[in-house]
């Protein structure tokens, strides 16, 4: 009898937790380049993520981490692709940074960083780099107001260092 008396409050408590806690489930595939905890550290909160394999090479993958904090949304996208001919193919990746890209030292073999402006006033900082024959792009985005490109750029650099470290 005593046990059943406490069932209802427990049910209410867990119900409340269910409502206010982000949906929790175990990932069947993790991001190879960065774990969710580290991504959460960079985005300063709990993240959700997706892993996709856009290309034919199964060793390549794109990971997208998203953090929602009320109306604020921050995101981290990591795209890794294996090049057949780095000397030729990497140009296609660097072109995604455009003319305003600046060189970034000590990330992979070589790296560029640039700023992007997206939809809904989203601000992004993007690093394009490679480790040997593997190109990668890291993009950190936020719709925070006012935008702080310096913080975003530093986050993109730090994430890129983690990704490059894994790829070496």
């Amino acid at each position: 009898m005593n046990g059943s008396r406490f069932r209802l409050p427990y049910a209410i408590l867990f119900g409340i937790l269910w409502l206010y806690t982000p949906m929790i489930c175990q990932a069947s595939e993790i991001c190879p380049w960065l774990n969710a905890a580290t991504a959460g550290g960079f985005l300063a909160g709990t993240v959700s993520f997706t892993v996709t394999h856009p290309g034919q090479n199964k060793d390549d993958a794109t990971c997208e981490f998203i953090r929602h904090d009320g109306h604020l949304v921050s995101g981290l996208r990591i795209e890794v692709e294996t090049m057949k001919d780095p000397a030729h193919d990497f140009a296609a990746f660097t072109s995604r940074c455009g003319q305003d890209a600046t060189p970034l030292r000590a990330i992979g073999n070589e790296a560029l960083v640039c700023s992007l402006r997206g939809k809904k006033k989203q601000v992004s900082e993007q690093v394009v780099s490679r480790v040997r024959e593997r190109a990668f792009i890291v993009r950190v985005s936020s719709n925070a107001r006012p935008p702080d490109p310096g913080v975003l750029r530093e986050t993109a650099r730090r994430v890129s260092e983690q990704v490059a470290g894994f790829l070496f």
Partner: protein, 785 residues
């Protein structure tokens, strides 16, 4: 597929979002650079500088976290952690330990930027130093990534016990880790070293015990974990010192925790292999004053004495004294990391350190020449020596075949040249002969077009090999089964490198002869492994060099000794030491005879003669030489040690023991003296006394196989079966694998250039085998025939 991760309900209830707590708040990660300051000594009575600061300027202190937080964290990590090496075994195959033997949350480690507020000098140096970059560099990651991918991330605990101890002890090195690895970029942060509470025996591989990082102790001396308000530190700086500055931080034993490494069975599924032991190299050097057997003596100098020299401060540094501070850039020999990161100041200071000029001495010591190249082998002998160059006249002519002897002395390095991982670092001798018209006559040790080193160069490198006899490339140390080749100059010793060339008939004199010791971090093939072949050339540093001009015709003796050269007796002494290590006993005896002729008061000259005769198994001659040494100083430990060996050979047990007891009395940290005295006691059935010596030996070097072997027998004889079995097992694991030479031979068979280099006496030459010089058989071998 869209998935979401986050803390479990239980974890949320118990610990909030500790697991996903960002290591840095945005303000912290915004690149707060330490503010510049004057070099003046800090005044602890001055108002705390943070009072006038805005929150953005300084990291927000994290409140201390109690044991409950750690327990919750550890419980969560333990669930799912790969305990492949045993339950509750956090760091095997490494040795890193933490108080409480349980996982500790990364957030317990205050960020370096927190420390930078008052220690900006230390921070600015550390940021460019190897310790802060111990994990993240491509040079490290390339190797450890292979280990993780081929054997499993849990094996990387071996490497990361030193390269990333927070990663290991936070439980990050497991499959599907839930640990925020933001700390990776700081490698060995301030509060890894400054949180260490005690040292394990000097076994290396992370032989320390971390405490929960604390910046203060309370009035009773209890540690207060986590960051504290700066005001508390300024109020009680002595409590801050007590928390973060253990006395052992200033000792070589502290450095040994990571600057000594082995490859244990759990890592390689093979057996214990000693990897490197720069700490023991220091113990055996003159700078430790622990070893009576060094060829030269020197002032006591610790690792910190060379690599953390005090220098004037240029930033705020509350740890400075009289305007100077023990450098936290640990200047040594790694040029690759500062080159990659663009740490120009660190790179320049590293190069300056390497080129300081007093670590090595390169001596173009002698030549021999053969008048008739077709009869070289019969013409070259010990009596054809022209030495020391500069002190004796000689003639040279076109068409002469000349053997040049270069003696390279490790004069003031407290360890070998080069220490630690000689499979990655590359030092070599470049030897060049040119005519006055610039025409190259001979060149060894050049770089090829692809950046690789001339494979016939005399290099100070090694070749670890795997079970197939292949070179262990990419630093895959877990596959090492043997070392086919290992060339170095131990501290205080010298090597002799021989070059032979023929002066062309049309050569224009005078000739310029240059011998350089170059250094590169890292070898080209390893850089290619990391980056592919399209990487910039990494710095090459000339550590030391010597140039001489040789006239075609008369070469008179110099009027005065050259300032670059050692004193003449020392030049002979170094030549003798080098000959000794090349098993050229007759040449060594001749050289040391020159030493005592020039310096009859020099006791080590006689001892060196005694030592050479012992190795030559001429014990009667050895006794005579050692008696002369002891006549100068009857208490000389080095002479007594070798005399003890002569007494042992003669069966004079009492004299043998008395001499060794004298040596141990003077040098209680001498591993050689302890080992030999232990053997002497054992032979006399003085078992307890023998045990004392071998246990003392283990306290000096826990991996000494003689100690394991003898203690297993001694304990057994005294009925201490459990300890005997333990020592026997350790001996079986640590002794050399009798099959190991087979792996080496397999490598040497297919690498003739290294095979040649692996022979103690070898000649570098471009001449054909028919005309090149051949060694005269040593007299001892001739005697035995």
């Amino acid at each position: 597929m869209r998935l979401q991760t986050g803390p479990t309900v239980k974890a949320l209830l118990l610990s909030g979002s500790i697991l996903l707590l960002p290591l840095l708040s945005p303000a912290q990660s915004g690149g707060n650079s330490p503010s510049a300051g004057t070099g003046a000594s800090p005044d602890y009575n001055a108002p705390p500088p943070y009072e006038s600061s805005t929150p953005k300027d300084f990291p927000t202190p994290v409140l201390p976290e109690g044991d409950g937080v750690r327990k919750d964290y550890a419980d969560k990590i333990r669930d799912g952690y790969n305990f492949r090496f045993g339950k509750n075994n956090l760091s095997t195959p490494g040795n890193a330990k933490v108080v409480g033997d349980d996982f500790v949350q990364p957030g317990a480690f205050p960020n370096a930027k927190y420390c930078a507020k008052c220690h900006a000098e230390a921070y600015s140096q550390w940021r460019q130093a190897l310790h802060s970059n111990s994990f993240r560099t491509p040079f490290y990651r390339t190797s450890v990534n292979i280990l993780m991918r081929t054997k499993g991330i849990e094996f990387a605990r071996h490497c990361d016990s030193c390269h990333n101890p927070i990663g290991v002890l936070s439980g990050g090195l497991t499959q599907n880790s839930k640990v925020d690895r933001g700390f990776d970029e700081d490698g060995l942060t301030c509060m890894t070293c400054h949180a260490i509470q005690k040292l394990q025996p000097t076994v290396g591989n992370g032989g320390f015990v971390l405490g929960i990082p604390s910046l203060m102790v309370d009035e009773k001396g209890n540690r207060i974990p986590g960051e504290v308000p700066y005001a508390d530190i300024f109020k009680h700086p002595e409590r801050h010192s007590q928390a973060v500055m253990k006395d052992f931080l200033r000792t070589p034993e502290f450095c040994s925790a990571c600057h000594k490494a082995n490859l244990p069975d759990p890592l390689n599924d093979y057996k214990f292999i000693r990897a490197f032991t720069v700490y023991d190299e220091w113990q055996n050097s003159k700078f430790s004053q622990r070893n009576p057997l060094t060829f030269y003596s020197g002032d006591f100098t610790t690792c910190q004495g060379c690599h953390m020299k005090r220098a004037p401060v240029t930033h705020v540094e509350f740890g400075s004294k009289n305007g100077t501070f023990a450098a936290h850039r640990w200047t040594a020999a790694n040029t690759a990391v500062p080159f990659y990161y663009g740490f120009d100041e660190q790179l320049q200071k590293t190069i300056d350190f390497l080129k300081a000029g007093n670590f090595l001495n390169v001596d173009l010591f002698a030549i021999k020449k053969a008048a008739d190249p077709t009869m070289v082998s019969s013409k070259i002998g010990t009596d054809g020596l022209v030495a020391p160059l500069g002190s004796v006249p000689f003639k040279l002519a076109a068409d002469d075949t000349v053997e040049t002897m270069v003696v390279i002395q490790n004069k003031n390095i407290g360890h070998s040249l080069i220490p630690e991982v000689r499979d990655l670092y590359e030092a070599w001798v470049e030897f060049e002969v040119k005519g006055s018209d610039g025409a190259e006559i001979y060149h060894s040790g050049f770089l090829k077009a692809d950046g690789a080193l001339d494979e016939r160069a005399h290099s100070f490198t090694n070749r670890p090999v795997n079970a197939d006899g292949g070179f262990v490339d990419n630093h895959k140390v877990w596959t090492i089964h043997s070392v086919a080749y290992d060339s170095t100059i131990p501290a205080g010793r010298s090597v002799l490198v021989r070059y032979e060339f023929r002066i062309p008939p049309n050569a224009k004199g005078p000739l310029t002869v240059v011998a350089r010791v170059n250094y590169r971090h890292l070898r080209q093939s390893y850089l290619n492994n990391i980056f592919g072949k399209d990487h910039p050339a990494y710095p090459i540093v000339e550590l030391s060099s010597r140039t001489r001009t040789l006239n075609l015709g008369d070469n008179p003796a110099a009027a005065a000794p050259d300032a670059q050269d050692n004193a003449e007796w020392m030049r002979w002494n170094n030549f003798g030491i080098a000959c000794l290590d090349q098993v050229q006993y007759a040449d060594a005896i001749n050289a040391f005879a020159q030493v005592v002729r020039l310096r009859p008061d020099y006791i080590d000259g006689y001892t060196n003669l005694g030592l050479t005769n012992i190795l030559w198994e001429k014990y009667g001659s050895a006794r005579g030489n050692l008696e002369k040494a002891l006549k100068i100083n009857s208490n000389n430990a080095r002479a007594l040690y070798y005399m003890a060996l002569v007494e042992r050979r003669s069966g004079n047990k009492a004299a043998e023991v008395a001499d060794l007891e004298n040596v141990v009395g003077q040098y209680p940290r001498s591993s050689d003296a302890r080992r030999e005295l232990g053997k002497s006691y054992y032979r006399e059935d003085r078992l307890q006394e023998a045990i004392v010596q071998f246990e003392a030996l283990q306290s000096i070097d826990p991996d000494d196989v003689a100690a394991h072997y003898n203690l297993s027998l001694l304990y057994g004889r005294l009925g201490m079966t459990e300890k005997a079995a333990e020592q026997a097992a350790l001996f079986a694991d640590k002794k050399a694998d009798p099959a190991a030479p087979a792996y080496s031979l397999q490598f040497l068979r297919v690498h003739p250039e290294i095979s040649t280099e692996s022979v103690p006496w070898h000649m570098h030459t471009d001449l054909s085998p028919e005309t090149a010089a051949k060694p005269v058989p040593p007299p001892n071998l001739a005697d035995k025939r």
